[in-house]
Symmetry: C2
Subunit: 321 residues, 2 copies
């Protein structure tokens, strides 16, 4: 209970989360998607789809027998937020703030504007690969979630779900409807009831929570402002290099849509790039699913130093002609 309380407190300070939010510990970001749909949607969710993960939560809504609606754009692009209109029957709006599959990021201001335009709809924001960099204004978000193996550099098997009282109320509402189904394991009512006592609903990944406690402590002492500044700096170096590179280019063309934490690069000599980096001690990810053969994804997280980024650029500059 002490570990739960202390870790939840660290997360709230780190992300400037208001008191009236609850912190829940789940198993994975995919599990968070499932719980959000099951507990916050009676019939209609609405999804902004521009990559594999925004597609995944839409699919989950379908699999849970909801009637999800969506606006879809080409993967690698973002939305024109002035033109996005959300159907009236929507109960929950799902936004993936940082698409891990494509490296497209949605500006926090656009998320705020959506909530201002649709204040009566719940808003769920996936920040899996943008924490701790992303700076959401929780006054305009009802729930968000992330797993710990990306920006926190921890072993996988733990996710954090952040939800306000409106989410709990919606879950209560659904549970009381005759055909309402909020599930049993990790339903919001159980999570909420236990979280108030700083307890989990099952014997949790205690080691994972312990490690998250230590890493959030470290980030708080280092300073989240400094982390954000360095992330910007490193992203600028990477995009600057690849914009002028003759054998590899950023997938996301519009600089405003470019993720600072997941930099996706397209190249005909992708395999060569990955191999040369690996030979020099740098491991980057493949492109997601069907883009495995022609894209790489570079994580730009707190655990990656400015020197790491300089090294990537130096290797590519000197080893590939």
């Amino acid at each position: 209970m002490e570990l739960f309380q202390s870790t939840a407190k660290n997360i709230k300070i780190l992300f400037n989360i208001p008191d009236e939010f609850y912190i829940f510990f789940l198993g994975s970001a995919t599990e968070c998607m499932d719980r959000i749909i099951q507990n916050l949607v009676f019939k209609n969710s609405f999804h902004l789809i521009n990559g594999a993960f925004s597609q995944r939560i839409y699919n989950i809504s379908n699999e849970l027998h909801k009637k999800p609606l969506y606006k879809k754009v080409e993967f690698g692009k973002s939305f024109d937020f002035n033109k996005v209109t959300i159907p009236q029957q929507t109960e929950l709006i799902s936004i993936v703030q940082n698409e891990t599959s494509t490296g497209v990021s949605i500006n926090e201001k656009d998320i705020k504007k959506i909530k201002e335009r649709y204040p009566d709809k719940l808003l769920a924001v996936d920040v899996v690969s943008s924490v701790p960099y992303v700076k959401l204004d929780y006054k305009y978000v009802d729930c968000s979630f992330f797993s710990v193996q990306k920006g926190f550099g921890l072993p996988a098997g733990l996710a954090v779900l952040i939800a306000n009282k409106s989410c709990i109320d919606k879950s209560i509402y659904i549970s009381k409807k005759k055909s309402g189904r909020i599930g049993s394991y990790h339903n919001f009512l159980k999570l909420y009831e236990n979280a108030q006592k700083f307890q989990t609903t099952e014997t949790p990944n205690t080691l994972g929570i312990f490690l998250l406690n230590k890493v959030t402590e470290q980030l708080l002492s280092y300073g989240i402002g400094k982390i954000r500044k360095e992330t910007d700096e490193k992203a600028k170096m990477l995009y600057g290099y690849f914009d002028n590179c003759n054998f590899a280019k950023p997938l996301v063309k519009n600089p405003a849509d470019r993720s600072k934490t997941v930099i996706v690069i397209q190249s005909d000599i992708k395999k060569k790039i990955k191999d040369i980096l690996k030979k020099n001690g740098i491991i980057v990810s493949d492109g997601y699913e069907k883009n495995k053969s022609n894209q790489i994804r570079i994580g730009n997280f707190p655990q990656h130093s400015i020197d790491d980024i300089k090294k990537i650029i130096r290797i590519l500059q000197t080893k590939i002609k």
Copy 2:
């Protein structure tokens, strides 16, 4: 994928599990209960209830809007298996082979007999606190599950679900029914589809799987027969001592019902016993929930040596008059 394959193989060898079973990795035993009900029960499950955990899976069945039936006995006792009759409409029989809350164990032969009498019903067996000691005959079991923080001595946050093709077929059957609901996250069809490629449905607790791989490897090399023999020996020492102790007695009166791995002791001076053991470097568990004040539970797992058990007995013999 290599880690999944190798760990699943170790588990199958260790427990003599036939080829036609699948190994799935989940987050907790509580999650396993939820998935089993959701994927194997369209309407009616049947539960043998004699403790908090057999009660828990019954409650989950209710929460998932099934119509669970049950046979309940006093907590601390077991069932008269010759007299247990299971209602005709039962789709799934749920048995907790080793009740962690009370230290009551059900003989593997009684489990076999139940399946022989009701071959057309699926049988799910909770072996959370009896692995790796328990010796189920998987010809008479359709699925079983355990978490790794008890008999495997590992950090919590990982559970193993073992299921045969009949379970997958039942899940397919339910998913095709108009009002059938098998869920999305960790439903059996996704688990099955992924497990065939030695993959998980989400980024899993890889560290946990890695550690389980190492521990199962170690157990295989040490010999499961030796583990079982030592467990019997240690249990005999503990029950022998407490049967003749004048300030503490085993909760389970019938020797045939006594768990070899979770030894529950009742005493009016429970706090004193726990404190003296702790002062001497031995930590035992409290009784479960309402029995916190008058029971202790002693784990008898492979990580506990014969010397540990001797030490417990010696401390109590010499320090409590």
